[in-house]
């Protein structure tokens, strides 16, 4: 029978072959019918070596002043039996409390920094000190640092509660140094339309000045002219026209503001 099985295995798929391998590793004496071998045996009825009863968790044996870095020397998943804290996590059912740490998947999912306690970090620093050199004595002021190492990159980290671990604000990275050529940013490079110092402002100023000159009303200064309500409305309509593009709304707004500005009925 064994021989027949072996020959059949050549036709079967590799996965089945491993199952075959499993069943051949079992000693022939125990090939008598028994419940499916896929579950771990717990009963002692069939003479299998018994699994030990679950021991008390390690936390009960931990002293208060133990050496924590030896419990979590590296980044490891949360082991409820190894962490002596009575932490709870989860959304409580009605009239309930958050779930305890035993068998808590939420605590397993989140990243933990149990391996990076201050004590552990101190030890890391002590170990790394042998490989470090002194801070150069010449770099004793901020200006000298900036002069020799001009590029500064600012990153920010955030701790926040929410459904996601990530905080979108953490994606913002600032580069501190501005190049000389950035000062030559022209109007064509601007992402958004800025009305100040634009040709539109110049045009409207000239027009208004000419109107005032025609009416022999030269007392108003440039700032006053630009500060009137009509000019303000005109500025808003031009900005919206340039930034949003043409549509009925912006165009009619622009038309109204120009009409009011030029005193057309």
């Amino acid at each position: 029978m064994a021989a027949a099985r072996l020959s059949a295995s050549l036709v079967l798929q590799p996965r089945a072959r491993t199952l075959r391998a499993f069943s051949t590793s079992v000693s022939p004496a125990t090939r008598s019918p028994r419940p499916s071998p896929s579950t771990t045996e717990r009963t002692s009825r069939y003479g299998r070596p018994l699994r030990r009863k679950a021991l008390p968790p390690r936390t009960e044996k931990m002293a208060v002043d133990q050496d924590w870095p030896s419990v979590y020397p590296v980044a490891a998943p949360f082991k409820p039996s190894a962490v002596p804290l009575p932490v709870r996590m989860g959304y409580p059912v009605k009239r309930g409390v958050p779930m305890a740490k035993e068998g808590n998947l939420e605590l397993l999912k989140i990243p933990n920094f149990l391996h990076l306690t201050p004590v552990a970090i101190k030890r890391h620093c002590e170990a790394l000190k042998d490989f470090c050199t002194e801070w150069p004595a010449a770099l004793d002021s901020d200006e000298k640092c900036r002069k020799h190492f001009p590029i500064e990159i600012d990153t920010a980290g955030y701790v926040s509660a929410g459904p996601s671990v990530r905080n979108p604000k953490a994606r913002v990275v600032t580069l501190r140094k501005t190049e000389e050529w950035e000062k030559t940013k022209t109007e064509a490079d601007m992402e958004e339309y800025v009305w100040k110092d634009s040709s539109s402002e110049k045009n409207i100023l000239e027009t208004l000045l000419q109107i005032k000159a025609a009416e022999k009303n030269l007392e108003l200064s440039k700032e006053e002219l630009l500060g009137t309500e009509e000019v303000e409305e005109y500025r808003k309509s031009v900005v919206s026209l340039k930034n949003e593009g043409d549509n009925e709304n912006t165009l009619s707004q622009y038309k109204e503001s120009v009409k009011r500005l030029l005193n057309l009925t």
Partner: protein, 387 residues
């Protein structure tokens, strides 16, 4: 080709019938109500008001020859020739503009009005309506019928005699000067130039001589035509502020001034619009740094270069440069016919026996035309040409 002799209608023989039809109907203006829908007897644009909206008014042949020697769209010219009359519909955008023009303050800088709208909605004809009004009010009309013609398909470009960096377009300039002369004959002797202009070693125009001489010089000596145009523009701009005359600058397709050209130099490098002397001078003309008149413009995609077909909004067609140059301006939207205007147009065609299809005057026929043309004037005109 046979025509059915229908007792109720006149035979469409050609030029004769519509004329006597018009003459016949002229007498019946008070009694017949269908006529009141599509026509008005008020032929002076100055008196057009909201009550005339949707109705056609007649432009006399005299005006056609002088004012509109080069301004009307080609299909309209064909229609005028067929019907032997020039009738223009009074529409709201034009009425709006006429209202502004009537209330212009000539001491203030010239205001710019821009007609914009989709293809075939009637921008050019609205422009012509306002030109007619100004001509009747005795303004000086400076009409550039299509600025796009100046930036493409130009055979002979000469290096400008006045400024070596720029280019001349002698043919176009001399044609334009001829038309300008026809339109403003009576002004040309009144206005005097204020400087001396030397054309070449032998010819020059003295200070104080009439502007007509400059125009003549341009027409005769084609080489100097573009410079003559430049001088005309400069003089008119300078002198309109003094109040002797009122100036209307009308440019169709003004977006050509700030677009691109298809013209190339001998070494095949492209020419920018400002390197053409005419465009350069025209740009100065549409700036609002002069008084005593108005500037009426249209932006159109038809004939424009490198602009998508669906573009009709001012900023799209003018671009950033154009918008900044024209700012501040009053944009006036010209849209498709409203139902009243549509009815009026159909009536006008029916009166002139233009729609020969037997179903044309029925309600279903009208609905079909409405659907097919979407009340777009240009589209409607093209459709009716087949009927």
């Amino acid at each position: 080709m046979t025509f059915e002799l229908d007792p109720g209608r006149f035979l469409h023989i050609g030029t004769q019938a519509p004329q006597c039809l018009a003459a016949h109907l002229d007498n019946q203006v008070a009694t017949e109500s269908p006529r009141a829908i599509s026509r008005t007897s008020e032929n002076d644009p100055a008196k057009h008001g909201e009550q005339h909206e949707g109705q056609h008014y007649n432009i006399s042949f005299q005006d056609l020859k002088t004012v509109f020697s080069h301004g009307l769209p080609p299909r309209f010219v064909m229609q005028v020739k067929t019907f032997n009359e020039a009738c223009l519909m009074v529409r709201r955008p034009a009425l709006e503009l006429l209202h502004y023009l009537k209330n212009t303050n000539f001491a203030h800088p010239a205001v710019r009005y821009v007609f914009y709208g989709e293809k075939g909605t009637g921008k050019t004809l609205s422009l012509c309506h306002s030109i007619h009004f100004c001509a009747k009010q005795d303004w000086l009309i400076l009409h550039i019928p299509d600025a796009h013609l100046w930036v493409k398909n130009c055979r002979d470009l000469l290096q400008s005699t006045y400024n070596k960096q720029r280019f001349d377009q002698p043919l176009e300039a001399s044609t334009w000067l001829k038309n300008f002369k026809t339109a403003n004959e009576h002004f040309l002797s009144q206005i005097k130039v204020q400087e001396k202009y030397v054309w070449n070693k032998r010819e020059s125009t003295e200070k104080g001589s009439p502007l007509g001489e400059v125009v003549e010089q341009g027409i005769m000596r084609v080489r100097n035509a573009t410079d003559a145009v430049g001088i005309v523009l400069k003089e008119l701009k300078r002198q309109s502020s003094s109040g002797i005359f009122r100036l209307l600058v009308a440019v169709d397709g003004v977006n050509a001034l700030w677009g691109r050209t298809t013209l190339k130099r001998e070494d095949k490098s492209p020419i920018a619009p400002e390197e053409l002397a005419f465009i350069y001078n025209l740009r100065k003309m549409v700036k609002n740094d002069w008084q005593g008149g108005a500037i009426v413009l249209t932006v159109s995609q038809t004939g424009s270069l490198f602009k998508p077909r669906k573009a009709y909004l001012p900023q799209e067609l003018l671009g950033k440069e154009g918008f900044d140059a024209l700012d501040p301006f009053i944009p006036i939207l010209v849209s498709n016919y409203n139902p009243k205007e549509f009815e009026s147009c159909i009536h006008y065609y029916l009166e002139n026996n233009w729609l020969q299809h037997e179903k044309a005057h029925t309600e279903e026929g009208k609905k079909e035309l409405l659907f097919l043309s979407n009340r777009n004037p240009g589209q409607l005109e093209r459709l009716c040409a087949y009927l």
